[in-house]
Symmetry: C2
Subunit: 406 residues, 2 copies
C-alpha cells in the first residue's frame, strides 16, 4: 500500500508539483526559464518535463514570437487545459455530489442528486455514472480524466496509493469501500482514492472554502451525526487508524444518552440534528425537521433558540478541549445546524473562548462553513491533487531493490 509513498516517490511528486506550479502561476515558459526558476538540475528537469509531456499534462509548442533568427526554435511549455482533469465524488447518506476540475485546478462543473436511504451500492454508482455523463462534453473530457477522489461515510484509515486499485485499510465497511474504488476505476479508467467524506469536507474548506488562509483547521459538522476533520499544516489528518475527527463521540455527559457508537453521553447525543429536534419539541416546539428548527431559531422563536443555543454551548465546550490540545488557527462549523447562524455560532464561540487557555483566545478564529453540501466532492478533488497519480508511471526502484527507505 505504501509503495508509492517512499522518499523517492515523494521527491518525484515534489519535482512534478514544482514544475506544474510554476506553469500554473507563470503561464507558458521555455525549458531554460523553467530551469532558472525551479533550480532543478538540467537532467532532472528534462526527465520530469519528458514524463509530463508524454502523459499529456504539459504541451510543448513553438510560438511565432519565440522563433529565433538562427539556431533551434525555442519551445515553450504550457499546461494542457484538456488534460489532468479530476473528479470528486461524495457518496453521502442520501445523496451523491460530484465536482470536476481541469489541470489548472479550476472547477469546471458540479452536480448533486438526492436518493432514498435504501439505494444500494450498484444504484449509487449508476447515479454517479449518469451525473458524470451529464457533465461530460465541453467542460469535462473523460479521456483526460486523471484521478477520482471519493468520499464515503465512516472511518477510512489511509488513502491508498493512486493506481493501486483503491484498496484501503479501514474499519468496518472496508470491503464496500474497495468495491466502490474498483467499480469506479473500471468504469472511468482512472485511479481512485477513497476517504471519509466529512474529512474531505474539512479539506475542502481549507483548500476552497472558509479557511483558505489557514494551515491548521478544525472543521466540525453538525448534521444527522456530529463529526469533523482536521487539517494539520496544510494536510489532511487521518489518525493512526483513520479515526481522526470523531468530535461527535467526545463524552460531554457522563452516564448520558446512549449513542449509536456504543458509548453514552457523546456530543452527538446532544448536538446532532436529531438531538436538537428532540430538545426543541420537548420544549414545546412544533416544527418537525431540522431546517424548520434552524429557521425558527433565526426568527427568534424561544424554544428553537434555546435548543440550538444549548447544542452550540456543548459543541464549544468539547471543541475547547481539542483546541487546547492541537492549537488550530481556525475552527469552521458546518452541517444543517450551522444554518441557524449566529444563534448557534455565538454560543459555540462563547463556550470555546471560555474553555481555551487565555493566551490562545485571541489566536483562534471561528467561522461558518461556506461550501455546503458539495464540500466533500470538492474535498475529493483536493485529495487527488495532493497525491499526483502521475507517480504511478515511474518505475519505483527503491521498492524493487531496496525495501522501504523511510
Amino acid at each position: 500500500m505504501q509503495q508509492h509513498d517512499g522518499p523517492l516517490a515523494r521527491l518525484r511528486r515534489g519535482h512534478e508539483e514544482l514544475v506544474l506550479d510554476l506553469l500554473r502561476r507563470h503561464g507558458p515558459l521555455s525549458r531554460a526559464e523553467l530551469g532558472a526558476r525551479c533550480g532543478l538540475s538540467r537532467t532532472t528537469l528534462y526527465d520530469i518535463v519528458g514524463v509530463l509531456v508524454a502523459t499529456g499534462t504539459v504541451v510543448a509548442s513553438v510560438p511565432e514570437a519565440g522563433r529565433r533568427r538562427r539556431g533551434r526554435p525555442v519551445e515553450r511549455l504550457a499546461l494542457n487545459p484538456a488534460a489532468g482533469q479530476a473528479i470528486g465524488i461524495d457518496l453521502a447518506r442520501r445523496a451523491v455530489h460530484i465536482a470536476a476540475v481541469n489541470v489548472a485546478h479550476e472547477v469546471v462543473g458540479t452536480a448533486s442528486r438526492a436518493h432514498g436511504p435504501d439505494l444500494d451500492l450498484a444504484g449509487r454508482i449508476a447515479l454517479v455514472e449518469e451525473m458524470v455523463d451529464e457533465l461530460s462534453g465541453d467542460s469535462l473530457r473523460l479521456a483526460a480524466l486523471r484521478a477520482i477522489g471519493v468520499g464515503v461515510v465512516g472511518p477510512v484509515a489511509s488513502a491508498p496509493a493512486p493506481g493501486s486499485g483503491g484498496g484501503s485499510a479501514s474499519l468496518g465497511a472496508g470491503d464496500e469501500r474497495d468495491t466502490i474504488a474498483e467499480l469506479l476505476r473500471k468504469r472511468f479508467g482512472a485511479p481512485v482514492l477513497v476517504d471519509n467524506n466529512t474529512r474531505l469536507a474539512a479539506l475542502a474548506e481549507s483548500v476552497w472554502g472558509a479557511a483558505t488562509d489557514a494551515r491548521d483547521v478544525l472543521y466540525v459538522r453538525l448534521s444527522h451525526g456530529v463529526g469533523g476533520g482536521l487539517v494539520v499544516d496544510g494536510a489532511l489528518h487521518r489518525g493512526a487508524s483513520g479515526l481522526s475527527g470523531e468530535f461527535g463521540h467526545i463524552s460531554v455527559e457522563p452516564g448520558g444518552r446512549r449513542c449509536q457508537c456504543g458509548g453514552s453521553g457523546c456530543l452527538e447525543t446532544v448536538a446532532s440534528a436529531g438531538a436538537v429536534l428532540d430538545a426543541y419539541r420537548a420544549a414545546g416546539g412544533t416544527a418537525d425537521d431540522i431546517a424548520a428548527v434552524t429557521a425558527a431559531a433565526r426568527a427568534g422563536e424561544p424554544a428553537a433558540v434555546t435548543a440550538v443555543a444549548a447544542a452550540g454551548r456543548r459543541v464549544g465546550v468539547a471543541l475547547a478541549a481539542v483546541c487546547n490540545a492541537i492549537g488550530p488557527s481556525t475552527v469552521v462549523v458546518g452541517g444543517e445546524l450551522a444554518s441557524a447562524g449566529a444563534v448557534l455560532i455565538d454560543q459555540v464561540r462563547a463556550a470555546l473562548t471560555e474553555g481555551l487557555m487565555p493566551v490562545a483566545r485571541p489566536l483562534l478564529d471561528l467561522r461558518p462553513a461556506v461550501l455546503g453540501e458539495g464540500g466533500a466532492a470538492l474535498g475529493g478533488i483536493a485529495l487527488v491533487l495532493h497525491r499526483s497519480p502521475l507517480l504511478s508511471r515511474y518505475p519505483n526502484r527503491e521498492d524493487r531493490e531496496d525495501g522501504d527507505v523511510s
Copy 2:
C-alpha cells in the same frame, strides 16, 4: 523564516536524507551502487554527494579490494563518523540536560546538572558550555558539530530554519529564546533550533523511547505543570501558534481552582505534582514532596493511592476527548507522577477507555514514558536530525527569484 522550507529546499533535504539513509543502512557504497539504489539522476546524485563530501559528512576512499586492474579506481562513499554530530540541550526549570549523537545517529554521550530556580540565562548557558566541554574529547568533537537542538519552557510557534540565527515566532518569552539561540550559535558555531521542551520530550519518546513503533503519538507529562506534545504521522506537531499539546489547560472542572494560565478548573489544577501533593495532604498524608507521594502510592498507602488515582482518572477523561479527536495509536505518560506506576496508569487507562468511542478502544496503546529527565535533550537531537542543516549551504533560487512556490 520560511526561506529554507519551500518545495525546492524540501526536495534537496529529501535527496540528502535519501543518500545518508542508504549509507547508514548499507555501509560504504560506490557512486554506481548508490545511484542504482536511490534512483536519482546521475547529475542530481553527483551534486548531492559533492556537497556531502565538501561538508565532511561523507568521506570518499579507495579500498584495496576496490582497485580495478585497469581504469580508474572505484571510490567508495561512507558516513564520516567524526562528522555530523548533533547536540540536544534541555533548559528545564531547574536543570540542564544535554545529549550528543554522531552522524550514524548513535548517542555518544549524555549529562544532566541541577541548578537553583533563580539561575539566570547567562548562568544556564555557562552551565551548558561546561557540560559540553566535559563531554568533548573522544566521543564528541566540537569541530564536527553540525547542529544544536534546544528545548525551552513555554510555547514556541515554529522552529526556525537552521542557519537563520535561530529566531522564532513565539508568544511571550520570544526575546529570551532568540538570545539563547544566538548565544549558543556564537559559542559553538553551529545552527540552533529551539522548541518547547515538553514537545521535544514527546518527539524523543517516538524516536528513541516508548513509542518507536508508532507514528501518531500523544505524550502527556505530569509534573510541576501538566503538558505534552503530539507526534503526527512521524513529525512533531506545533499547532498554528505553537500552542499544541496544552493538555494541562483542558477544562475539567467548570468554575474550579484558579490556574496559572489565567483560566480555572484546568486539568493542571487537579493533576500536577503540586495538586496531587495538596490532595494527599488534605487526605491526611504526611509526605512533603511528590517523590514521597508516588513512593507511598506504590507501597499502597491509602491517602497516596487515592490522590494519585483521582489525578489519573482526570487525566484519562481529558485525554479521551483528545484521542477521539485525533486518533493516535499510542499514548505515553511521563513526568514525576508517572513513577507511581500502575496506581496512576491503571486509572488513566480505565477513564481513557471509557471515554473513547468503542471502535477505537482496542486500537489505542497506553504506555509509561521510558526516557526520563533526559528525554527533551534527545528530542532536541531528533528535531535537528529532522531538519538537516546542510540545506543552508545551498543557494535557494526559488526564493531569490520567485517568491514562495508552495
